[in-house]
């Protein structure tokens, strides 16, 4: 019974995330208005049949902006995870499977980076890289590498000492074969779950940097930018901030539920 509930939760999360991605991808067909076009006479219209989520200070349609914004926000988050994933995996495997000195050196470096809160590190990187969409993904991604390396290393070390890996080694399998045929598949589920958690964190941190105004083009729809726009107008038109805020929360919730479910029951995924 508990299993059924868990599976239902997993399905719901999967459906929510799929819906968020689908809406973002289909934005050009689903949007009712041009997301950038300002129509000042229609400032702060409450939600209605013409404007499903109302309009903002410049009279832009919040529904269309939320749809288009999803593409940009999710795209940045995916790019961020990819940027963190590659180097993070490589460093983690090298440290967990390489020699003792390599391990000590790499982990010392990663620990030094982990000492900074990741958002602060991302802000420092933004100061170096300048503002823009790709820069935000790079900054958040680089700031996420150390955690990824740490988790990968732990998973690799754990897998390395499992009896069947020991057995494979005793049977004379080469280090490369052990790594790819035994350790990586064993460590993969927990790494996958961690990638899920990282995606929601990438989504939030990316949106945070966008909210702070580091996303480049300020007129482009993006959830963090829309939250910043909506905050000043919150007392006049709460829908301007509520729409992107809810979209962001629901997406993060879906990702977290999915990641949690995967970690507990990898086979169900």
């Amino acid at each position: 019974m508990a299993n059924g509930w868990r599976r239902g939760r997993l399905r719901a999360a999967l459906a929510l995330l799929a819906a968020a991605i689908a809406l973002a991808v289909l934005a050009p067909w689903l949007a009712t208005h041009d997301p950038r076009r300002a129509v000042p006479e229609e400032q702060f219209q409450p939600p209605s049949a013409t404007h499903y989520f109302g309009t903002d200070l410049l009279g832009r349609d919040v529904f269309s902006r939320t749809l288009y914004g999803g593409g940009r926000t999710l795209g940045v988050a995916l790019l961020t995870v990819l940027i963190a994933l590659g180097p993070g995996l490589a460093i983690g495997i090298a440290a967990g499977y390489g020699g003792r000195w390599l391990d000590a050196g790499l982990m010392m470096l990663m620990d030094a980076l982990l000492a900074f809160p990741s958002l602060i590190l991302a802000l420092a990187l933004i100061a170096l890289l300048g503002s823009g969409t790709v820069q935000v993904a790079l900054a958040v991604g680089i700031a996420g590498i150390p955690s990824y390396a740490r988790v990968t290393r732990a998973a690799v070390i754990q897998a390395r000492s499992l009896p069947f890996v020991e057995a494979a080694r005793a049977l004379g399998a080469g280090p490369r074969a052990i790594l790819w045929r035994h350790i990586v598949p064993t460590a993969a589920p927990s790494l996958l779950a961690f990638a899920g958690v990282t995606l929601s964190w990438a989504l939030l941190n990316g949106a945070a940097l966008m909210f702070l105004g580091y996303g480049g083009d300020i007129a482009a729809p993006e959830w963090g930018v829309m939250l910043a726009d909506g905050r000043a107008a919150f007392r006049n038109a709460p829908w301007v901030a509520l729409a992107p805020g809810s979209a962001l929360s629901v997406t993060v919730l879906a990702i977290n539920l999915l990641a949690g479910g995967l970690a507990e029951h990898p086979a169900d995924g």
């Binding site: 009279g59 809160p117 958690v197 105004g213 300020i218 007129a219 007392r235």
Partner: protein, 547 residues
Amino acid sequence: MLTSASMRRRLPVSLGVLGVLIAILCLAGVVVALLALRAGLDDKDGGNRIVYGLTLNPSGFDPHIHISNELGIPFYSIYDTLIYRHPQTMDFVPGLAERWEMAPDGLSWTFALRRDVTFHDGTPFNAQAVAANLDRITNPELASGKALALLGPYTGYTVVDDFTITLHLSEPYAPLLDGLSQVYLGMASPAALREYSKNTYQWHQVGTGPYRLEEIVPGDRIILRRNPEYAWGPVFYAEATDQSVDTVEFRFYTDPATRSLALESDAVQMIGELLPTDVELLLGNTQLRVLRVPIPGLPQQFFFNTKRAPTDELAVRQALLYATNRTEIVDAVFQGQSPVAHGPLTATTPFYDPAVEALYPFDPTFAQSLLLGAGYGDSDNDGIWDRDGEPLRLTMIFPSWNQTPEVAQLIQSEWRDIGIEVELIRVPDFPTLRSYALEGDFHLIAFYDFGVEASLLNQFYMTGGANNWSGFSDSELDGWLHEAVRQVDAGTRAALYSSVQQRIMEQAVVLPIREYVNLNGTTARLDGVIFSAQGWWPLLRNLQLRP
């Protein structure tokens, strides 16, 4: 932060940790109680007390050195100036100087000083005190940002007697009196200037004004207390009553969205720069008042880069002016709380010429015909006009304050309707803005300053002027601007500034958007809310707090 998914299962918190948490909570409770008690004690001995919300935290507070308008909000009441400008008539009225006279050749001004004035530290005010202030401001080591510039072609002084001083100029300079009426040329105690270094004086400022500086905690608060001996104010200062405000505590509210909330919750009794979108909410509250204070000087505006294609062409600049619906911008972004700006000066600035108002009505069709005449058209049918294969694409640079990002987005949307593409670049601070300007890497850039004197235009429009970011150069305009500061006669000056304003707009050097209005909010218990002629600085002396 990153947390491993498995951490959720490690639940039971040990009793030891719980104990430590409880201890910390108890300690925090005691600290909060003590703080509350202290605040309560403060209130009792303060008499009439208000909290005034400042909107930015200036990098420095010394009026002789620093340039921020915000610093004048507290310090206009710490200092007196030799001359004041009457807030209603803009006339010059006596301050620390009872009378003044210009020499017939215009090269010197003699000031007869009041004899009954003492600084907050007991030092008597006299001609030597004025001399000490002038010495400090003109000392190159001080690196004065504004005070020195206000003195114009000043060359030195002569102390005629204890209460008479003459200022010498290398050429006639009409704006001198206006400079002397600004807080940047406030008279500081020579004893205090001697006691503190150029960097530390700002925390220990001593003037002759109606309030004394009691405490500055950088980034946190500034506390002023009423000067009970004050009896030498200008005509527009009110007499002290038992409703006068004894203590003014300044606090910082740098986030615009928090200001109306602070006012409504009575955390502040007075605050400036409210969000235009909050005004209507506040007007519905009978406990509060909103005052719209127009600020004289330059309007909120964008300079065109006249050195870079395509805004180096007059027809393109004029087309952009016709293509901008300023009424729509003012109504949407500023909620109609500010007047539309039409020229290089705002309507409340002396020598403003209303002739500029008829020049560029919103007319997108005419804008397009001007662009057609300049050789543009949509040859590839992509909605963006082009010429010789070059699309009509402009770069606009602006800061994050004063709702400029919203203005820029609206302009972007308006101009796209007639086939002009605009790239928006928001910069976080003034140094970044200036670096874009110096590199010339823009077509439009947001830049303006405030002041009552029309000679403010010189640095923005004269060839090689310090703030001439448009790169505009017109020798006839230079001549008029220069002549207008040499002429003392108001009629002559008005005629010259008329020509100046019309030439600037005919040449379409600037895109004016709105006249700057400071939206101030106060509690309805506060009467006598008046601002100096410059618009930014409140006359704390005139505030009356009803119980």
